[in-house]
Amino acid sequence: MNFSVLQFPASNCDQDAVHAVRLLGHSARLVWHKDASLGDADCIIVPGGFSYGDYLRCGAIARFSPVMQAVKQFADNGGLVLGVCNGFQVLTEAGLLPGALIRNRDLQFHCENIFLKTATNDSPFTSQIPAGKILRVPIAHGEGCYFADAETLAKLKANNQILWQYCDAAGNLTDSANPNGALQNIAGICNEKRNVAGLMPHPERACEPLLGSDDGKWIFESIFAALKSKTVAQAA
């Protein structure tokens, strides 16, 4: 499977995303933000970093980069798109995901390991995560507090669009387990069509035991499985 990882000025987790995908046995390439084409991609990753220096608002300028037209088209056609950290911010600014990411409630930049509870296995990004498994993944952000108005939150809940929530080691959704004040401990969501997802934690940094955790691989394995079944369906 071919993954295209976008590169904006000041993206800094693009190489990690490429490395993680290749480590897990698939192809990945970098796509510069000025390219109009995504190449022959099966899945797009919008990586973490500080695109455009987080100027104005995180992801506010990156969303207008030429490549984002192709990403929107790709998403409209049902292609899988995963936004990580700044990538999640870019996707909300671009309107491909609902809500917004604002400043952490304690105004601190949080660089630490957190625990994630998978709220639903019913998505191409969570299908392979073992039931009940708490994922240990690092975060590194200053603006990761997920916000959406009451109406949007209700819709997310009703449509099962909340994919991951911050929890403690035992899987409890507590306030102290919430590093940034995100509403309902929301760490990641998907769109209504379930083909676009975003999360603040970095699964691409948790694919090797050497780096402290390989729990992140379950998210990639879910994507691989979804792409495989797509190919099988197309061939049939």
């Binding site: 104005l56 506010a60 409630r105 105004l107 916000f147 108005d149 009451a150």
Partner: protein, 80 residues
Amino acid sequence: MKAKIIITPKKAVLDPQGKTVQTALEHMGYTGVTGVHIGKYIEIDLVPGTDKVAATKALNDAAHKLLSNPVIEDYKLEVE
């Protein structure tokens, strides 16, 4: 010719910066402060003689798409 845009966080949005500044003001001895909200101010220089109506329309569009995030912010636009 100038456009002035004031961007403020929506009331429903958590404003920890505002809260922190409010606490600081209280610690400094200022009384009677019931809230602090921190936003942004943007000034855009325009070519002199630009049509005001057209500029306002274009800038409202820009404010809606780029300069502010309507999910979390409100804005006020003035063209002078």
